[in-house]
């Protein structure tokens, strides 16, 4: 009995790799010109809304209050310092500090995240990055999950507490411009993969991310108006006004569902590649947390 099970396993295994060879057929939304080293200000050549959101201290209330034009400020009108109201993101910041201090009682949690001498300033700007230990591209939240597990605490990527710690760690980089380098490997390939995924159509709709955020940007979709995909990342994780603390990947699962596309697991390589792509498109924009948006 034991022998025949083994025979079965041996005979069936070698078939798998041959099947993986050919890429499946997909439709694509056409690329716009992203260049090799994108930055948030490149949006001026795309939706040309950069002028309205580049400085979150100077948002024009006439535009942010307009039912037809508010999409042009790219949700920056709810960022501090323009908007200093209290919201759930502030609760998350406090909770994040509490959990962080518990984890970092001996200082090795900060070290595991990559902080030098426990200093969290600027740490957010080093993510997403290639992680030798984890063998792939990781965002801050994936690294938090890994480093918390080392301390014996389960902080599932995408969970409230994981995201709260991310908001807390990110807050030390407030005001500092994002600056990931996608001109060198392995980040260069991650950027290219993310760019391709962003334009790849899937789901019952046969929509890509770019269907809404490139082809239909600024168009009315029954009360929703898709915004530019430039300049977004500086205020993530964010507090959604539907009362939910969301990491970027949790948001991706919602984007996918809204577009009729099967969501992937939080922390998957695909979502990390899209994170690299979108972070590069936010280069130059300052980190601004806690934030809120619809």
């Amino acid at each position: 009995m034991k022998r025949s099970t083994l025979t079965l396993a041996l005979l069936t295994l070698p078939l798998a790799p041959a099947l993986a060879a050919e890429a499946p057929y997909r439709d694509m939304t056409s690329y716009i010109d992203y260049g090799k080293s994108p930055k948030a200000s490149d949006d001026a050549k795309h939706t040309n809304t950069y002028q309205y959101w580049k400085d979150n201290r100077k948002i024009d209330p006439e535009i942010s209050n307009s039912l037809t034009d508010f999409w042009k400020v790219n949700w920056k009108y709810r960022d501090a310092p323009y908007d200093d109201t209290l919201h759930g993101g502030h609760d998350a910041l406090e909770r994040g500090e509490e959990v962080y201090k518990q984890l970092n009682a001996k200082g090795d949690f900060a070290a595991c995240l990559g902080a030098k001498k426990g200093d969290l300033k600027g740490l957010r700007l080093t993510y997403p990055r290639f992680d030798k230990e984890l063998g792939g591209i990781v965002g801050l939240e994936a690294r938090i999950e890994h480093c918390a597990a080392r301390q014996g605490m389960k902080l599932e990527n995408g969970s409230y507490d994981n995201t709260a710690v991310s908001v807390y760690v990110t807050s030390f980089s407030n005001g500092m411009p994002l600056k990931i380098d996608v001109t060198r490997e392995p980040m260069k390939s991650a950027f290219e993969r993310g760019k391709k995924l962003f334009h790849t159509k899937a789901g019952w709709t046969n929509f890509s991310c770019a269907t809404c955020h490139v082809s239909l940007v600024g168009k009315g979709l029954r009360g929703q108006i898709p915004t530019t995909h430039y300049g977004d990342i500086g205020h993530w994780p964010t507090w959604r006004s539907k009362d939910e603390l969301q990491s970027l990947h949790v948001r991706f699962t919602e984007c996918n569902r809204n577009a009729g596309v099967q969501p992937l697991k939080v922390g998957s390589p695909e979502y990390h590649d899209i994170e690299v792509f979108m972070t590069a498109l936010s280069n130059g924009m300052p980190v601004t947390v806690p934030s809120q948006r619809d």
């Binding site: 798998a16 046969n206 979709l221 939910e244 099967q262 697991k265």
Partner: protein, 178 residues
């Protein structure tokens, strides 16, 4: 005898595994076979390190995903011929067009009686006066990629979203818009 049976079993298993690999679901999707709708989504729970997973309203795993491990092809553009007379029910077609969970046409198109119709595609307020044949409209809804490979409009027929009769009904509805 025993050996032949085993060999047959091995061949059968290998064959079905080969068939499954091309059609099977990628492992890194949010999917729970035990739930009715299969597709699940993560909800962060305040002051918890774990996610709660809710069921989506629809099984989305039936269509290609963004997973690198998804080997299923997207349906290629399909050219179709409308068979026989249209026989569409315009009233039913309107219900399909103006239902967010079915045709959802109003997400991108302005239709009469909808104050917040979308602007992703052209307004269809008077599409019945544009002089399009039933067969043309049928093809556009079934799969508009045949006319325009770069279209962002969902291929309702090719992707199995709307049935032949559903599309006949929507065409009948559109032809009444004058």
């Amino acid at each position: 005898m025993k050996h032949t049976l085993l060999a047959l079993a091995v061949m059968g298993l290998a064959g079905s595994q080969a068939a499954r690999a091309a059609d099977s679901l990628p492992p890194n999707i949010l999917y729970d076979a035990a739930r009715e709708k299969k597709t699940i989504w993560p909800l962060p729970v305040r002051n918890s390190g774990e996610l709660k997973y809710n069921e989506h309203r629809q099984d989305l795993s039936r269509w290609p995903t963004l997973s690198y491990q998804d080997k299923r092809d997207t349906k290629r553009p399909e050219k179709v011929e409308l068979q026989g007379p249209l026989n569409g029910n315009a009233e039913n077609g309107k219900k399909i067009a103006m239902n967010t969970q079915r045709g959802n046409c109003w997400a991108c198109h302005v239709l009469p009686g909808d104050p917040q119709g979308g602007t992703g595609g052209p307004p269809l307020i008077n599409v019945g006066t544009w002089g399009y044949s039933d067969a043309h409209l049928y093809q556009q809804i079934w799969d508009r990629r045949v006319a325009n490979p770069a279209t962002e409009m969902p291929p309702y027929g090719s992707n199995g979203v709307l049935s032949d009769q559903d599309i006949r009904d929507v065409v009948a509805y559109l032809q009444t818009l004058k």
